[in-house]
Amino acid sequence: MESPVVLSAENLTKRFGKREVVSDVSFDLVAGEVFGFLGPNGAGKTTTIRMLVGLARPDRGRVRIAGFDLARDFAKAMSHVGCIVESTDLYPYLTGRENLLHFARMLPDGAQARIPELARLVALQSRLDDRVATYSLGMRQRLGLAQALLGAPDLLILDEPANGLDPAGIREVRQLIRHLAEDRGIAIFVSSHLLAEVEQMCDRVAIIHRGRTLAMGPVRELLAKRGAERLVFRARPAARAAEILGAFSRDGAARADDEETVSSEVPRESVPDALAALAAAGVRVFGVERQSSTLEELFLEVTGGETV
């Protein structure tokens, strides 16, 4: 089963003066998939998004949305898109409802009728008639999302949707994004500088750095490239634990970082045995955690050691 391509970026290139901030970025998004656009701050993510939604003109390359060339058929192409670029900026002196009405008036008829449903979806019904100036950051973020969904888009472009949200808010946004993609078949483009965020909600991911795509593919495949996972054991005495864990580790080594911390590349299937061996040797284990690898480490893997 082939899903239709909703967004296609071909060789997008953008220069500011002599500096090339985005170079030859290409990707396709199909209906119902969540595509992560991962890169550190300043990698060219926002500039790419600006080109995707027509705020900036690419110096080279082309954007097609639902089959329409963005440069030539701007209005037709954009009628399929909902987006949040950079931050969710809405009119602070208008109420939530007035903001939604304002943007609904810029869409084909029918958008106004969706306001109650969308307010419920982002849990803002009770505050909809308050001025946005009184909203918390999370509420503004959610109102921004409602605004992006007003036109019943086939493509949602979200720039750092979790920025400024508390953990509960991040979880809500993540669930909402999965729901929109899986149940409504919306293609969703999400940019982020946080690996964990992309890992948890995206099907496919492109890694961008210094304006270039370094890697692209299903999230699991890319994460596999990250190499063995590191486990951190909180155990006493650490020196004894390191001796034992060395035998279970992939590379035969375990390092005692201080008197209670040992890190080691123990494969997942060996963890129970390693714990049993530690217990048998009288080592007291207080905890085991997976060391979350950072975006920088992933870059090191992907680029084969080129410095970030």
């Binding site: 900036a56 954009m78 900026d89 009119y91 208008l94 304002h102 943007f103 810029m106």
Partner: protein
């Protein structure tokens, strides 16, 4: 995509913001203050025959004229004023009679070169730049609506706001003026078209109009001047993307326009500046033009060119430029 809802959006945003209420407040406060000041002045003056007062004024001005100590620009004005008062005297009309309608009519002259342009700037300077400052421009320009249409809706809303302000200015002036000097008198004859032909007074062009017609013309000219300033402020708002910078630029231009004709009346090329042409209701009613040779049709033409050029540049810049705010 229909155009009317876009204009509705822009008008809503203009009206919902504090600056529109501030503009109304300025109109009310200023008119109130002027009326109050005038009633105070009137009360203190002993009741006298207006004919005697006018004759004394003419005599006083003739003395100035003969003294030979007046600079050329003031001399022109004095000669004109002598002729105007004398003309009224000859026809037994009080040149200084005041009524609510006359007060409203005077408001058109007094407000066309500073107050109304100022209010036009207040709206226009921020209509585009505020979207950049708030970051809402990113939402506005990612709708299925072309940039030219977005800009057109803003221009239309600006036109509505300026029209409304000029109209409200007239109404407020009439209400306040009427309160102090009586609400009747729209049909009173007005002598207009005073003109200096060279150094002498040319009575051939003087016409008598009912006041309401004369006031309508004067307000029309003031409205046109305000629209032109609005279009130019709109351009600065588009180009500078900062409300403060746009306001500063426009205010500097307005101030230059009030100073230049006084300090450098012999610099003829300034007649092509838009600011020099703003007091056109004033010389429509017969005051000497800021620069000799400027006429109402000339000023209307100059202002039209400025407004059209500013609008064209605003579109060209807005439609093409990348949005990186």
């Amino acid at each position: 995509m229909r155009f009317a809802p876009l204009v509705e959006n822009e008008i809503l945003k203009l009206l919902k913001r504090r600056r529109f209420r501030v503009a109304l407040l300025i109109l009310v406060a200023l008119n109130g203050l002027i009326v109050f000041a005038q009633t105070q002045a009137k009360d203190r003056r002993p009741q006298r025959d207006w004919r005697i007062e006018a004759q004394e004024r003419v005599a006083r001005m003739q003395n100035w004229e003969r003294s030979g100590r007046l600079p050329q620009t003031q001399l022109r004005w004095v000669r004109f004023e002598i002729a105007r008062v004398q003309y009224h005297l000859d026809r037994n009309v009080d040149p200084d009679a005041i009524s609510g309608p006359l007060f409203a009519r005077a408001f058109a002259n007094a407000s066309s070169y500073l107050l109304l342009p100022l209010l036009a700037i207040l709206f226009a300077a921020d209509i585009v730049s505020s979207e950049f400052a708030q970051g809402t421009v990113k939402l506005l320009l990612t709708r299925p609506v072309g940039r030219a249409r977005v800009l057109s809706s803003k221009l239309a809303a600006l036109g509505v706001a300026i029209t409304l302000t000029v109209a409200l200015g007239g109404v407020v002036a009439y209400l306040f003026g009427g309160l102090a000097f009586g609400y009747r008198g729209w049909g009173a004859p007005v002598l207009t078209g005073f003109r200096l032909a060279g150094e002498t007074f040319d009575p051939g062009a003087v016409r008598s109009l009912p006041l309401w017609e004369d006031a309508l013309l004067a307000f029309g000219l003031a409205w046109f001047a305000a629209l032109t300033v609005g279009a130019i402020a709109f351009l600065t708002s588009v180009v500078l993307r900062s409300t403060a910078a746009a306001m500063g630029t426009m205010l500097a231009a307005l101030i230059a326009g009030t100073i230049l004709p006084r300090v450098a009346p012999s610099w003829e090329a300034q007649r092509y500046l838009f600011v020099t042409n703003l007091p056109l209701p004033d010389y429509y009613s017969g005051s000497p033009a800021p620069i000799t040779g400027m006429t109402v049709p000339f000023s209307v033409a100059v202002l039209t060119v400025w407004a059209l050029a500013a609008t064209a540049v605003a579109y060209a810049v807005f439609v093409r430029r990348d949005v990186l705010a």
